[in-house]
């Protein structure tokens, strides 16, 4: 009980100096420090440009991206996603029936913490919940159908600002904290955390690739990668990150992956959705 109160106080930003380190979960303070770190480190990158990842910090890359984005190769996935989104299920209902505002322009509100199930619900999970509620088989979280569908939903939300909420529920704060932990924990034989690449080394090169800053990273998802020759889901991105450091990836949309997305999206609050993005 005492712990719960502390958590709630921390959530509200009212806790003065927390007594124990373990109780010091303070998303608002984290958010400020996180944003501060990136804006100080990259003073020439306008805040809203962080969502363009590597292109915000490398002129040659940016030029190639602008040229390619003028008529992006993900156009076909986007068109397919729109068609899928608008095609009714066998029962006559559509995705629009499952979502607020008929599913248009809502990407910025995902993931959210579902106080009923006590879990983080990402857009991808919400889409499959919608499918299953309407008697349809769920899509594979790592494959093209889910990528196309989420690409379209992100596209209708471009420019909308991330608005991730952490409800007054200790479980929500715990999920946030678990996501934060996963993000900063070193893993794999290469002993890298997500942060090793996307915080400490953001903007640096790995071969010709420029590592995207963690700030705004999720705003570009899903992403078309030239390397993949196609659109990839958030799950695919996380799984690839893990494999690259020689860690066995979690299952797609594993609770921890959802928590990381929750954490990172909260860190990107106020930044515009730029997905679907295109990356090398």
């Amino acid at each position: 009980m005492h712990r719960a109160i502390l958590l709630v106080l921390a959530l509200l930003g009212l806790a003065a100096q927390p007594v124990f380190a373990a109780e010091s979960v303070n998303p608002q303070a984290d958010f400020k420090a996180f944003r501060n770190y990136f804006t100080k480190r990259f003073p020439n990158v306008p805040l809203n440009d962080f969502v363009n990842g590597p292109y915000s910090m490398n002129a040659d890359l940016r030029k190639q991206w602008v040229e390619i984005d003028a008529f992006p190769p993900y156009q076909f996935a986007l068109d397919k996603g729109k068609e899928m989104f608008e095609t009714p299920f066998k029962n006559g209902k559509t995705y629009a029936d499952c979502f607020p505002n008929k599913g248009i322009g809502i990407r910025q509100n995902y993931p959210y913490f579902d106080t009923k199930s006590g879990e983080v619900i990402t857009l991808d999970v919400a889409l499959n919940q919608c499918r299953q509620a309407n008697g349809e088989a769920p899509y594979d979280y790592t494959k093209d159908d889910m990528a196309a569908l989420t690409a379209y939903m992100a596209f209708t939300s471009r420019g909308k600002l991330f608005d991730i909420k952490i409800p007054d529920d200790p479980r929500a704060l715990a999920a946030y904290r678990k996501g934060e932990e996963y993000f900063y924990t070193r893993r794999g034989q290469l002993n890298f955390s997500c942060a090793s690449c996307h915080v400490q080394s953001a903007g640096n090169h790995i071969r010709t690739e420029v590592l995207a800053p963690a700030l705004g990273l999720v705003a570009a998802l899903p992403i078309y990668r030239s390397e993949w020759g196609g659109m990839g889901t958030t799950s695919r991105r996380f799984i690839t990150c893990n494999s690259q450091v020689r860690a066995v990836p979690l299952k797609a949309e594993d609770e921890l992956y959802r928590d990381v997305e929750y954490y990172l999206s909260y860190m990107s609050n106020g930044l515009p959705i730029s997905g679907p993005g295109a990356r090398p």
Binding site: I68, A70, F71, P73, Q75, F76, D79, K80, E83, G229
Partner: protein, 103 residues
């Protein structure tokens, strides 16, 4: 039903700038599939753009053109609202065509 061809053609000051994207794997013949077998070459060889009964642009391509190929060029003499016809054929004889409106 979706076409394999997307086109944006914009007329301005007597000049029409055309950008097109074609959905095609453009397999080079040098890439292996998951089973380690080479994927045979499969790529578009010719894309033709026609306006007012005249071929205004022809792209001759080899396997080094990127997947879902993109092309941009410009020509003179078209008006807003005119038709622009695009057609392609690949090394296996598959084809598609599309009529777009110049904006």
């Amino acid at each position: 039903m979706a076409s394999t061809i997307r086109v944006r053609a914009v007329a301005s000051g007597g000049n029409t700038e055309v950008q097109a994207l074609v959905q095609h794997p453009m397999d080079s013949g040098f890439v292996k599939n998951a089973q380690g077998q080479l994927i045979p070459p499969h790529y578009i060889q010719v894309v033709e753009f026609e306006h007012g009964g005249k071929v205004v642009f022809t792209a001759n391509w080899g396997p080094a053109i990127s997947k879902d190929p993109y092309i941009k060029f410009s020509f003179k003499g078209a008006q807003k609202g005119d038709d622009l016809t695009i057609s392609w054929i690949d090394n296996k004889g598959a084809m598609d065509s599309f009529v777009g409106k110049i904006q």
